[in-house]
Symmetry: C2
Amino acid sequence: MVAHSTGGVVLSLASKRRSIRRYRRDSINIGDVLYAIKAALQAPSGANMQPWRFVVVVDPKMKVRLREVCEEWEKRFHESPTLPAWFREWLRRRGITWRKDFLTDAPVLVAVAAYKKAPYARESTWLAIGYLLLALEERGLASLTYTPPNPRRVAAILGIPEDYTLETIIPVGLPGEDKAKEPRMSLREAVYLDSWGKQLPEGVEG
Amino acid sequence: MVAHSTGGVVLSLASKRRSIRRYRRDSINIGDVLYAIKAALQAPSGANMQPWRFVVVVDPKMKVRLREVCEEWEKRFHESPTLPAWFREWLRRRGITWRKDFLTDAPVLVAVAAYKKAPYARESTWLAIGYLLLALEERGLASLTYTPPNPRRVAAILGIPEDYTLETIIPVGLPGEDKAKEPRMSLREAVYLDSWGKQLPEGVEG
């Protein structure tokens, strides 16, 4: 098994990108956001149905409304006694609370909706979100795939029709924090050869 | 709204990539496939659970077994009287039948599994698949996100445990067909500003 490795742009962008929760309020070039959406629109989808729609939110009033309805439900979620202990601890360590400042701090929010009746709508839409994140990173823009705890309520505020699901709201802007990348698994931890549990040969790094 | 546009690597890779169903049998450098998986491993995921696992299949016998069980169910699917007429026509135009030659022709198959109990396991895994496809394209490798009609049966052949779902099998190799890109929506068709239905200003191209 020959497995020599050289770097590349995609790996470099993927490695550099971090999920950013604090944003500077500085405005950004909306053309950079549209560039990233343009890349997302090129993604493959089930039967090429292109089930995704994007709502680019720049209106401060809309951002405030979105934040209010998200935080109302985030409070319930964070205070819920059924939240697993490990997850409560995971959130605490990262300083993640019910407050979602990024929904009003970030100069742009990109809400992504998926057409329910398309085949593999959710899968296709998230694949396209992968394209989007890398293209935002290429333009030096920070992002986060925030999934509201109450997508139906939030979708209604944006006017998203019933036959679409709101999949995520992605704040986009300049990072207001400098954080380390969360650790990732190595190739040998996450990849098997030919069947489950059969490890790659030692020394393999792609 | 300033929205000037310049090109970029991500958009270029995204635009060039096509879903390829015919593969040359020529072998490829497995290091290129591992490079792409390495990029996928850098994707964000719910609570950083990294719910994805990859099974890289190069063994010809395993490929034959996978193809057999997929085609058995593909036949049922393609011959099913409940298949919508529009979809039957969509398949016919593209010459897509129950035969899945790519499962044995492509030198490498990448099966992707997702850990069911992780938060947003499916979403995270498909986002990572977006990274994977762009990185394969960067290395000049063709790919297809093939979703078997009987994922549970196929997962069993690969030894994938019950608490994982098989999300896709991605054939990877050199393209054996030269096909045009399926058309995509424009920015103005797929993107709204501030709320659903409100179009971007005329002339905007990101």
